[in-house]
């Protein structure tokens, strides 16, 4: 298991303005509150399927997403509630999607693993490990093709670094110098398998060396370190037209998904990472610098609690996805509304 980088390894905190720092804290807290509440709703049976929580990883999510422009496209894994919320998606629509309701971000066709908010340039969460990486390279390709100055960021886990398609994608991105940030959120476990049981080289950012691509490792529990690293990488991509890779070391507090009882990871290890919780450490920084007051924090917590309660109530009150939408959106240009497609044969005249 990798240790978090020592402070010397990380770059100095940027001179982010106080408003932005408060907003980042509030977003970390919103995601935590949202996901803890989602876990409760899963246990109640209101959320089905898989529910992968990023509790413990919020600093890496928020630091990366908020370092980008709102029009920079991002893709993610199936652990992506936080990315949507950090991009500004309506918590009501996110929760309603988890509930499988018509009012969800994807109308109930996606669920927890497949959120997308195209208007906010969040290009989706994907369920096959590594599978979304080349899509982000394609988004970067499109930016380059159109001579725009955006940057595509793809978020993937430590597990994806052993998928061949990541190597293919990094090679093409560097070969053609596409504006892409390969953001590896290393939560140190691919489901139940620790990085050092899966990877011959455990310093995953070194994958980039094979493609002559700049890369660095940052402390993923330190939101400002992540923010600075992604800010630098985005600037580099925009000005130098070169992709780069960032490995952010963080820790997932819960099991792989709600169906994982998490019995194999050592308690001592969990406790060590809990002590570095961004809600504790970042709060200490903000209070110490006078960026927030205790009253500010209370207000943020109260606001997030009511936002999440409102989202749950909205989801609960929303209509379920209409059966009539079953065959919607399979095609942009469909030739039948029949959900059984050609098999039903109603279109053949007697």
């Amino acid at each position: 298991m990798a240790d978090a980088p020592t402070p010397q390894d990380t770059i100095p905190a940027p001179a982010a303005d106080a408003d932005l720092m408060r907003q980042m804290f509030a977003t970390i807290h919103l995601i935590r509150t949202f996901e803890e509440r989602a876990a409760e709703e899963y246990m109640r049976g209101n959320i089905g399927g898989f529910l992968h929580l990023a509790i413990g990883e919020e600093a890496a999510v928020v630091g990366s997403v908020m370092a980008l422009r709102p029009t920079d496209p991002i893709t993610s894994t199936y652990r992506e509630h936080g990315q949507a919320l950090a991009r500004g998606s309506d918590p009501r629509a996110v929760m309603a999607e988890l509930f499988g309701r018509a009012t969800g971000l994807c109308g109930g066709h996606g669920g927890s693993m497949h959120l997308m908010d195209r208007e906010r340039f969040f290009f989706g969460g994907y369920g096959i490990v590594g599978g979304s990486v080349p899509l982000a390279v394609g988004l970067g390709f499109a930016i380059s093709y159109r001579h725009e100055d955006g940057v595509a960021l793809v978020m993937f886990g430590d597990g994806a670094t052993n998928q061949g398609v990541l190597m293919e994608s990094m090679n093409m991105a560097k070969l053609w110098n596409l504006p892409v940030i390969f953001f590896c959120l290393n939560n140190q476990y691919g489901m139940g398998t620790a990085v050092d049981r899966a990877s011959a080289e455990t310093e995953l950012f070194k994958r980039a060396d094979a493609f002559d691509m700049p890369s660095r490792r940052v402390d993923g529990m330190d939101v400002m370190a992540v923010y600075q690293a992604v800010t630098d990488a985005a600037h580099h991509a925009r000005t130098e037209q070169e992709p780069s890779m960032i490995e952010a070391i963080a820790y997932r507090y819960r099991g792989h998904s709600m169906s994982d009882p998490d019995r194999t990871r050592p308690e001592e290890e969990k406790a060590r990472w809990h002590a570095r919780d961004p809600l504790i450490t970042f709060e200490r920084v903000l209070l110490g610098e006078g960026t927030v007051t205790a009253e500010d924090l209370t207000a943020i917590r109260d606001r997030n609690s009511s936002t999440v309660e409102d989202a749950v109530a909205f989801a609960n009150d929303s209509p379920v996805a209409d059966d009539a939408t079953l065959a919607d959106d399979v095609y942009a240009h469909p030739w039948t509304d029949d959900p059984r497609g050609s098999a039903e044969m109603p279109q053949v005249r007697p």
Partner: protein, 334 residues
């Protein structure tokens, strides 16, 4: 081949495809080509000949040998509004990219509630007959046709190759465009820049009263040869070419079978859970009361493709196999 509108000069199936891409590249700046050795090398089968020179490396992109990677790249580019035309050197290499095709290209629109489209074409030649052995001789129409979210096109003539490829490039959904290695040199008339062939419209290649033969791609020509042979025996076959398998024009097939009361389906792929099996099922459901005899399928042998020329020929559907199938179904129904 009498039903196609024709222009004066006959061009090859290969050149018809090149024309379609050239015209669409000229028409729409969002269209670009990407694939292995399609630029400088002008394509493994020379379908992209001249296009790098005409349109430059930004729009005719040579890739590394990374099928999953550049198919995924094309999907991402399509999601942001470009219109990639991907060439996979052959259908055999699509297997390496199957996760991208099935899990991303086909599903992105649906699982995200229609927020994005994937206006993507993946071209690839398939089929067998050149002694390329087990790993380079696939007909995977059935695999792709199985997947909701994809459209699947299998042209048999130069006219259709051009007109269907133009339709595919202008379509907002992911299209699997299956060319036949054995047809690249086939010559025939082609349409002009605005002659599109719509998806989901079968064409009757030859009319006949006794037996319907449904065949796709190179198998259309096998079926027509068989029909010639049978005509000399007084058996008149109607050859129906669906042209696209998803959507499939069942109406034209069913109308034909209801006239002939007999049906043979010819498919270059394997028999189990295959395209012929699927079409036969559709025909049973739509035409059971009209059929005078069981449908007969003609497929490739249920083996990996062998190398030896005689064995390869024995593994593929031949016109004598089709003729025998027609005679067999007519004998049962007599």
């Amino acid at each position: 081949m009498t039903t196609d509108a024709s222009t004066a000069a006959a061009v090859s199936y290969r050149e018809a495809l090149t024309q379609a891409m050239r015209e669409e590249l000229e028409r729409d700046p969002n269209v670009f080509l990407i694939g292995e050795d399609i630029g400088l090398f002008e394509g493994s089968f020379k379908v992209t000949r001249g296009l790098l020179h005409e349109f430059g490396p930004a729009r005719v992109v040579d890739t590394p040998i990374s099928e999953a990677g550049f198919v995924g790249l094309g999907i991402g580019a399509a999601m942001s509004g470009l219109r990639p035309v991907i060439e996979l050197m052959t259908v055999n290499f699509s297997i390496v990219a199957m996760d991208q095709i099935v899990n991303n290209a086909a599903k992105v629109r649906y699982m995200f509630g229609g927020q994005v489209s994937v206006p993507l074409v993946i071209r690839m030649p398939g089929g067998a007959g050149h002694q390329l052995g087990a790993q380079h001789s696939h007909s995977l129409e059935a695999w792709f046709t199985h997947v909701p979210g994809l459209k699947v096109v299998c042209p048999s003539t130069p006219y259709d190759a051009k007109g269907l490829l133009k339709t595919a490039i202008r379509d907002d959904d992911p299209v699997i465009f299956l060319e036949s290695e054995g047809l690249y040199a086939k010559k025939g008339p082609v349409g002009g820049p605005d002659d599109l062939v719509p998806f989901g419209q079968a064409i009757v290649r030859r009319s006949g009263a006794h037996c319907t033969i449904v065949a796709l791609s190179r198998m259309v020509w096998i079926a027509l040869d068989a029909a010639d042979t049978l005509a000399a025996e007084g058996i008149e076959c109607e050859v129906v070419d669906p042209r696209t398998t998803r959507p499939l024009d069942l109406q034209t097939i069913a109308d034909s079978v209801r006239r002939t009361n007999h049906c043979v389906v010819v498919d270059e792929g394997w028999p189990e859970c295959g395209l012929a099996a699927n079409i036969a099922t559709h025909v049973y459901e739509a035409c059971f009361d009209w059929l005078d005899a069981p449908i007969v399928r003609v497929n490739a042998a249920d083996v990996p493709m062998p190398y030896a020329r005689n064995l390869e020929q024995a593994a593929l559907p031949r016109q004598e196999d089709v003729a025998a199938a027609v005679r067999a179904t007519l004998a049962r129904g007599a």
